[in-house]
């Protein structure tokens, strides 16, 4: 294991069972991601990039191998411990934003903080700071359906960073956005990485989006085939 790596993956394999048949998705992956890195996971459809991201985020379990993040082997954690670990360490950005439609932008951003011991006032300060960072303080009382796609994704980014996680995982964060709005979102991620030093792992099939990362990791048929600076 590399001493400086935030994420240290060794011999990681994942297979799904479909009708008594084992379908391998990831095969013997080794990967190190230092703290403060911005990695783009690339590859064709079915290459296993999203599966790898899910495993790093702790929302899926590997078939074999280890995933050490911040020194913790998350592959060995129980469901409950893994949920606690995610709440404390991971910020999620999804392709389709995944905001709660019945909650305002403010309430959506506040969600991860409800799992902390922060007071109501402290939560409010954190949420306002996060919304300020994505320049949406004027829309904090709006519901998701009152916001554009780009604005919704900015709310999702604010939600991902509000609890100050070690790691931000983004699954096709610009996949549902037009080019201009996508650029804005990527700039935001870039800013989070450069200004706040957040470690970001992003799945994308868009080379332009990947070029905003510091490093590109290519997968094909579940195998890591290339790892190079962006």
């Amino acid at each position: 294991m590399s001493d400086e790596a935030l994420i240290c993956i060794r011999g990681l394999s994942k297979a799904y069972t479909r009708a008594d048949q084992q379908i391998p998705v990831l095969l013997n992956i080794d990967l190190d991601v230092p703290a403060g890195d911005f990695v783009a996971l690339m590859g064709p459809s079915g290459s296993g990039k999203s599966t790898l991201l899910n495993l790093i985020a702790g929302i899926d379990k590997p078939s074999s191998g280890s995933i050490h993040i911040g020194g913790v082997d998350i592959a060995t954690l129980s469901e409950g411990a893994l949920a606690d670990w995610r709440a404390a360490n991971v910020g999620f950005i999804f392709q389709f934003y995944n905001l709660m439609p019945v909650l305002t932008a403010f309430e959506n951003v506040e969600l991860p903080l409800l799992l902390t011991s922060l007071s109501s006032r402290q939560r409010k300060q954190h949420v306002q700071a996060a919304l300020e960072m994505v320049r949406l303080t004027d829309r904090m009382d709006h519901y998701p359906n009152e916001l554009s796609g780009g604005q919704q994704q900015r709310v999702a980014i604010a939600r991902a960073l509000v609890s100050d996680p070690t790691l931000i995982v983004a699954d096709e964060p610009t996949g549902d956005l037009d080019r201009h709005t996508g650029e804005e979102v990527l700039s935001l991620l870039d800013n989070l990485n450069r200004s706040l030093g957040k470690t970001i792992v992003m799945v994308t099939h868009d080379p332009k989006a990947a070029s905003r990362a510091r490093r590109m990791v290519h997968l094909e048929k579940g195998v890591l085939v290339d790892d190079m600076p962006a």
Partner: protein, 385 residues
């Protein structure tokens, strides 16, 4: 607090769906309450029975009379503290739909055995003195607008002719369960007439009401009475007033069982409807629950969300159903009148209604909550895509 806010917002996210589910619940809970009230009203006579009263009737059938001469012999039996008698009159006031029970009774001894019929001393005295007088329950008097001194003409069906009774007293029940829908008049009045017109039917009574000193001795005293008349021309059957009333109810027991069954079936139907609503709701929000779990919310949070939403809708629907039952029962009671004299929704029925709503809410959420608590986060998130 956040949990409550979220489940409240979720509950009314699809206003039409929630509204229609709630309408179904209101109707079901209301129907459940009304049917339970019908059953309770049917048993009202049983509930108001005294444990210190026995009823002696012909061992053959209630339609056979007993000689009035038995009164003295029954009174002499050890443990008997009082004796009275009554005959079912079965007359019609104006038209058959105005049905209410009328009994020919021995006034002094009867009212002594029924202290729950509360009359003033003046009213009692006026009744005792007037052989063509009668006393009526307050609900009956209110229903027909009768007041003291009014003459009530009743056309006999068992006892031929039209009989006019002057109201000498209006009783109020000592307890809520006391029947206030009867008319009592002098047994002697019809007996005199029967002597003149139908001599063979005179000096007979329908049932004897027997006061006893100790409820625990009811079986023993009943046995003593029936033994006293064994092998006579008119053998007797003595039972507690409650058993006597239950005998009437048992005649229509099949209907009551059917009504009770229907009341529960209604609850089961709405349970299925509500469960379907909650399952649809949960399936639609699969990605949201997956997102919450991805963010670190434990599965119990999703369970609480679904149970909370289901219970909120069910209990709100239940409460509205209970509130609607009250005026409906009142209207229904007015229509059925003295057929079901004590038709009111009891606190027990209302508690049952809310209990049914609670069970509906819990059962409806059980399956989707279990299912959603176990969803695979990755699969759930893909649901959006």
């Amino acid at each position: 607090m956040f949990l409550f806010k979220l489940l409240l917002k979720n509950a009314f996210r699809h206003k039409l769906r929630t509204g229609l589910t709630m309408v179904g619940l209101v109707v079901a809970i209301c129907a459940f309450g009304l049917l339970r009230t019908i059953v309770s009203a049917w048993y009202a006579g049983v509930e108001s029975s005294s444990s210190t009263r026995l009823v002696t009737r012909s061992a053959v059938s209630l339609t056979f009379s007993l000689p009035q001469s038995y009164a003295g012999r029954i009174k002499a039996i050890d443990g008997v503290t009082g004796i009275s008698w009554s005959n079912w009159f079965g007359g019609i006031y104006q038209e058959p739909r105005n049905f209410f029970p009328q009994f020919a009774v021995d006034p002094q001894s009867y009212l002594a055995l029924y202290p729950e019929y509360q009359l003033t001393d003046e009213e009692k005295l006026a009744f005792y003195r007037d052989r063509k007088g009668c006393v009526v329950g307050k609900k009956l008097a209110d229903k027909f607008g009768w007041k003291l001194g009014d003459v009530v003409p009743i056309k006999g069906t068992i006892y031929p002719g039209t009989w006019n009774f002057a109201i000498r007293g209006i009783w109020t029940g000592a307890e809520a369960s006391t029947d206030e829908n009867q008319l009592l008049f002098h047994w002697a009045y019809i007996n005199e007439t029967l002597r003149k017109r139908l001599g063979n039917r005179a000096d007979t009574v329908g049932v004897y009401i027997v006061g006893i000193n100790e409820p625990n001795n009811a079986a023993l005293i009943s046995q003593r009475i029936d033994t006293a008349f064994k092998n006579s021309l008119a053998e007797t059957l003595t039972e507690t007033e409650k058993a006597f009333q239950l005998g009437f109810v048992s005649m229509s027991e099949a209907i009551l069982v059917a009504i009770q069954a229907v009341s529960f079936i209604i609850v089961v139907i709405i349970m299925a409807v509500m469960a379907n609503t909650m399952t649809m709701t949960a399936r639609e929000r699969l990605a949201e629950y997956a997102t919450l779990k991805a963010l670190g919310f434990p599965p119990e949070f999703v369970v609480k969300l679904l149970f909370g939403e289901s219970l909120l809708i069910a209990l709100l629907g239940g409460l509205l159903g209970v509130l609607l039952t009250l005026p409906l029962a009142s209207g229904f009671g007015a229509v059925v009148g003295s057929l079901l004299p004590r038709f009111h929704v009891s606190a027990g029925t209302m508690a049952l209604q809310m209990g049914a709503a609670l069970v509906v809410g819990l059962v409806a959420a059980a399956w989707p909550a279990w299912k959603m608590s176990r969803i695979d986060i990755v699969q759930g998130l893909r649901h959006v895509a």
